[in-house]
C-alpha cells in the first residue's frame, strides 16, 4: 500500500476492518506530496535514494523497511497525484480521452505503478485522490451538466490497460455527485504523520470512515485478482 497523504485514511480504515480480512496482511509505504516519484528501480526493488527525506519517510511508515521488494508481496496498490475534477458532460470524447489519459498517466501513482510493473507481473492497482467533498450548493450548481464519473474512470482505465494496471473506483456510497464526495467523509480527517486533524475547510482528505469503506472495497478487488492469478 503505497501513497501520499491520501493513504492516511486508508491506513486508519484498515485498522478498523483488519479483523474482517484475517488472511490479509498490508504493508504501508507513505510520503507526502509527490516525493514518492523519487523512488528508483534498483536491483529488482523500488528504493528511495540513500540518505533522502523520502528514505526516512519510507522507513518510518513501513515499520522499518527501506525499500519495496516486489517478490515479498502478492499485489500493489498506489494512491496519489491522480485527481479527477468536474467535467462538462458536453465535452467531446476526444478531449475526454486526452484528459483522462493525461491526468492518470502523468500522476505519481502511475509513475510508481509502471516502475513496479517493470519488475513484476503481479496485480497492480491505482486509485485517484478522493473527489472533493464540495458543499451542497456547489454541487447543485454544476450537477446538471456533469460528466458521469464512470465515463471518466472508464477512459482512465483504457489509458493504463496496456501496462495491466487496474483502476480502483471510489465507492458509490461515498459520492454525493458525479464529481464530489459526501461532506461527512471529510470531517475529522487526519494528517499523514501524527494525530493532528486537517483544518475544517479541508475538502480533499477523507476520514477513517471513508477509509473503512474504501479499504473494504479495495481488498475485495485485490483478493479476486490474486485468486485469479493463483488459479
Amino acid at each position: 500500500m503505497i501513497g501520499n497523504s491520501h493513504i492516511g485514511c486508508i491506513k486508519l480504515g484498515w485498522d478498523e476492518v483488519a479483523n474482517d480480512f484475517p488472511d490479509t496482511d498490508l504493508r504501508f509505504f507513505a510520503s507526502a506530496g509527490d516525493r514518492l516519484r523519487e523512488m528508483e528501480v534498483r536491483d529488482s526493488m523500488l528504493a528511495a535514494p540513500n540518505g533522502s527525506l523520502l528514505f526516512e519517510r519510507i522507513f518510518e511508515t513501513s515499520g522499518g523497511k527501506s525499500e519495496i521488494v516486489p517478490s515479498e508481496y502478492d499485489a500493489f496498490f498506489i494512491i496519489g497525484g491522480w485527481k479527477i475534477w468536474r467535467l462538462d458532460n458536453r465535452t467531446s470524447s476526444a478531449v475526454l480521452k486526452l484528459y483522462a489519459n493525461e491526468t492518470i498517466t502523468g500522476a505519481m501513482c502511475c509513475d510508481i505503478a509502471f516502475k513496479i510493473r517493470s519488475m513484476t507481473d503481479k496485480p497492480i492497482f491505482v486509485g485517484h485522490n478522493p473527489l472533493k467533498a464540495l458543499p451542497a450548493g456547489t454541487v447543485a450548481k454544476f450537477e446538471k451538466n456533469a460528466m458521469p464519473y464512470r465515463r471518466i474512470v472508464t477512459e482512465a482505465e483504457k489509458a493504463v490497460s496496456d501496462g495491466d494496471i487496474k483502476v480502483v473506483r471510489q465507492p458509490e456510497e461515498t459520492r454525493s455527485s458525479e464529481f464530489s464526495t459526501l461532506e461527512v467523509y471529510a470531517k475529522g480527517s487526519r494528517r499523514l504523520r501524527g494525530k493532528h486533524e486537517h483544518p475544517d475547510r479541508e475538502l480533499s482528505h477523507m476520514n477513517s470512515q471513508y477509509g473503512r469503506i474504501y479499504t473494504s472495497a479495495l481488498l475485495k478487488l485485490v483478493q479476486f485478482a490474486v485468486s485469479c492469478r493463483s488459479r
Binding site: K83, R90, T91, S93, A94, L98
Partner: protein, 365 residues
Amino acid sequence: MNPYQQLNEDAFWATAVARRDMLDISHLWEPKFRITPKTRIATFGSCFAQHISKALRRHEFRWLNSEPAPKGFSNRSARQYNYGVFTCRTGNIYTTSLLLQWVNWALGVDTPPEECWQKDGRFYDPFRPAIEPNGFASREEVVDSRAMCIEAFHSAITDARLFVFTLGLTESWIHRNHGYEYPMCPGTVSGDFDKDLHIFKNQDYATILQNLKNAVELMRRHNPSLRFLLTVSPVPLTATMSGKHVLVATTQSKSNLRAVAGYLAENKRYVDYFPSYEIISSVPYRGVFYEENLRSVAQAGVDHVMANFFDGLSKRSDYRDVKEVNERTRRKERQHARKNKKKRTSSEEDVICDEELLEAFGAKR
C-alpha cells in the same frame, strides 16, 4: 497665426514620424476610458486578437476565460483543442457579421443552424471547423460542444467590462437559403463546397458598420456597462474571391474595416480604437514586423504593438495601478522588440489562423 501653429509635435509627420526611429514613434493611442488590471476583459476576433489575449495574461490583467480547458489538461493539449485562445472556443471571428451571428445565438435572438459536416467518419462544426483537430465523434457532440461555447459566449457578454474585438475580413461565405455565415469557405478546412448553396459576399462599409453596431448595441442591452475596444488585424488576406489582385483586395478590405472601427470609436462614448493595424502595416515601419511571407506578424511586431498598448494605458494620470503592474513588463517588451527588430523572428507560439488553410487548399499557387 494659423490653427496649426498651436498643435504639438504629434500632429506633424516630420516631428512625430519622419525624424524618429520607428520604435520611438509614440503617443499613438490615448485610451478613451479606464482599463486596469482588474477590468474583466474578453477578447475575440480574427487571428491577431490571440496576441492581445496572450499579452493581457502575461501582464496579469483579468482576461476572461469563460470556457476553460478541463483542469489537469496539459497546456499543449489545451492549445491543440483551442482552449484559452479566445475568451471561449468560438475560433476566429473574422467579420462583423459573424460577430453578430454569435451574439444573436448567445442572446437567444436566433438559434444556431443544425448543419453539420462529415468527413471520413468524423463530424465538423461549420461555424468552428478547426476547433478540434480531428473533428467530433458524432453530430450530437458537435451540437453539444457548440451549445457549451454559446453558453460561454453569453457569459463573456454578461461578465466582461471590456470586449476587445479585432476586425479581420470583409470577404464572407453565406448559405444562400438560410442566410447564415460560415467563418471559412465550405470545402477548405472541411465540408463540401456547393456552388448553388454557398455564396460569396464581399461586405461593404455600410454592411460592416451596421452589423457591428447591431452586435455592440445588443451586447450593451444585456450588459450596459460593457465597453468595446476595436482593433483591425494587420494580417493581409491569404486569398481573395473578389476578382481583384489580392494586394488591392486587401487594401480595400482593411480600409473599410479601419473606417468602420474609426467611425464607431468617434461616435460612441463606449467604443475605442487601438491602432495595432497602423503600428504593424504603415509606411514608417517599412514592413519589418512581418515574417518572410509578408503576411504573418513576427513576435517583435506583436511585442511592439503590446508595448504601445500598455504605454497608452500607463500614460493616463488615473492609471497608477496599471503603471505599477506594467513598469517592468513594458521595459521587457520594448527590449524584446528592439532585439528582434531585424530578425523577423517567428511568433513564440504559432497563431491559430484557419484562414491560412486557404493557402493549402487553393488550386493555383
